[in-house]
């Protein structure tokens, strides 16, 4: 018995190190377990609260710029609205029931933003008490931002599109060629579109938008423009470099889109997959 105690005392540094290393590895590798949810929720609550107060004071310094960007965005939306009204002048405003719209949009303020890491997360100041749920999509003034990862009562964390291993279904506007958009971790303004077949003719300057083939993002939200592409010597797919429209390093206001038919879509997809087994 004595010798066990002696070893424990002699090697206490190594044992403590190994024990804490185990905890550290578990902490970093748990991605969908109960503990991860708990820890991340606690993290969101603490850092959300702290960063909200810091952000409040910070936002005063950039009021002019944010007003300008809000005004630009509002005017674009008004223009869009007018276009629809003209097109559907037979339907008066009062007959449009908002419950019939597929998507519900809510606004939120970013309280913590990151873009310099390999896997970036944002925190916004809306949570379950405002109707925000996991897997809702988040867009900015000029395009997509990410997907809600976790929620607490008053805050939510968002997986940024600047997140390695995260792939988004996208297509080239006007052509309809679908591909898969991913971030390589170098530059927060650039992404790579792969799996676009070389039978499609593409050119620099073409707009990339969401493909709508998943239940996350509605179809047709702009993402970026093609700035460069390579035609491979072998293999049938282009390697396309995309410049993002949104500046993800400077985000203040974002919009959360709720797809009301998402559960229906997921159910149907699951049923079809089960049926083909």
């Amino acid at each position: 018995m004595q010798w066990i105690l002696n070893i424990l005392i002699q090697k206490r540094n190594l044992l403590l190190f190994l024990f804490l290393l185990g905890i550290g590895v578990i902490f970093s590798s748990y991605r969908s377990s109960y503990h991860q949810t708990k820890l991340q929720r606690l993290g969101i609550i603490i850092s959300g609260g702290v960063f909200k107060s810091i952000n409040k004071s910070k936002s005063y310094l950039s009021l002019t710029e944010s007003n300008q960007s809000l005004l630009t965005e509002n005017s674009a939306l008004h223009q869009e609205l007018l276009k629809y009204r003209q097109a559907e002048n037979s339907i008066s405003e009062t007959t449009i029931n908002p419950e019939l719209n597929d998507y519900l949009v809510r606004s939120a303020t970013v309280v913590k933003n990151s873009y310099a890491k390999a896997r970036n997360i944002l925190i916004i100041d809306k949570g379950t008490s405002e109707g925000i749920l996991k897997d809702m999509s988040v867009v900015g003034p000029n395009g997509i931002i990410g997907i809600i990862k976790q929620t607490s009562n008053h805050f939510s964390s968002v997986i940024s599109i600047l997140y390695q291993d995260f792939r988004i279904n996208a297509k080239i506007q006007g052509i309809g060629a679908f591909g898969s958009l991913s971030w390589e971790g170098h530059d927060p303004t650039r992404m790579v579109l792969s799996d676009v077949s070389i039978i499609n003719t593409i050119s620099v300057g073409d707009t990339i938008e969401t493909g709508g083939m998943s239940a996350y993002f509605p179809k047709g939200i702009p993402i970026g423009t093609i700035i460069d592409f390579e035609t491979p010597i072998s293999g049938g797919y282009y390697n396309i470099e995309v410049s993002l429209l949104n500046n993800l390093t400077d985000l203040e206001h974002v919009y959360i889109i709720e797809n009301k038919k998402r559960s229906e879509f997921i159910d149907l997809q699951k049923k079809s997959e089960d049926g083909t087994r």
């Binding site: 550290g24 969101i44 850092s47």
Partner: protein, 167 residues
């Protein structure tokens, strides 16, 4: 003794607060962020218990990971550097350093710079390797390691010079 422990605890919280509020917001070249919290581990008294340093290093990294919402890379990297610090000290200063803190040290400046530089470099290499966790990103890991090391090294030397007691 109590005063020493209080000083260590104060240093611990100051390191977290300064890192989260100020240094995490420095995004030099868009990707570089100095790890000034390393000051706490580098400057921890050499004669204090290593057991305490390992525990504090872990807690320091854990607190920073929670605040940055990162995946736990800082926790593991600070834990590793806390554990291997005695080896770095032996390598930099010989068997026994002539003083127990950098503030009162008479060793040649070169030895002190090697110690500080090695601590930061090893820590950054661990940190970036765990964050990317993919050999195919080795160029990114090395680039971030070198730039962050240089930035942290400059800031830490400035901090040390500012806080060093005048003889």
């Amino acid at each position: 003794m109590v005063q020493d422990s209080l000083r260590v605890l104060l240093g611990f919280f100051v390191a977290i607060i300064l890192q989260v509020l100020i240094f995490d917001n420095i995004n030099l070249f868009g990707f570089s962020c100095p790890a000034v919290y390393m000051f706490f581990i580098i400057n921890f008294r050499f004669d204090n218990s290593q057991f305490a340093l390992i525990l504090l290093g872990f807690l320091l990294g854990f607190a920073l990971d929670v605040f940055q919402n990162s995946s736990g890379a800082i926790t593991i990297a600070t834990l590793l550097i806390s554990y291997i610090r005695p080896m770095v000290i032996r390598f930099s200063f010989g068997v026994i350093p002539d003083s127990n803190t950098l503030f009162t040290m008479n060793s040649r400046l070169g030895n002190q710079l090697v110690y500080i530089g090695l601590m930061i470099l090893i820590h950054q290499f661990f940190l970036q390797s765990i964050a990317y966790f993919d050999v195919s990103h080795i160029t990114l890991i090395l680039r971030n390691t070198l730039v962050n090391t240089a930035l942290t090294f400059i800031l830490l030397l400035a901090t040390l010079n500012l806080t060093k007691k005048k003889n």
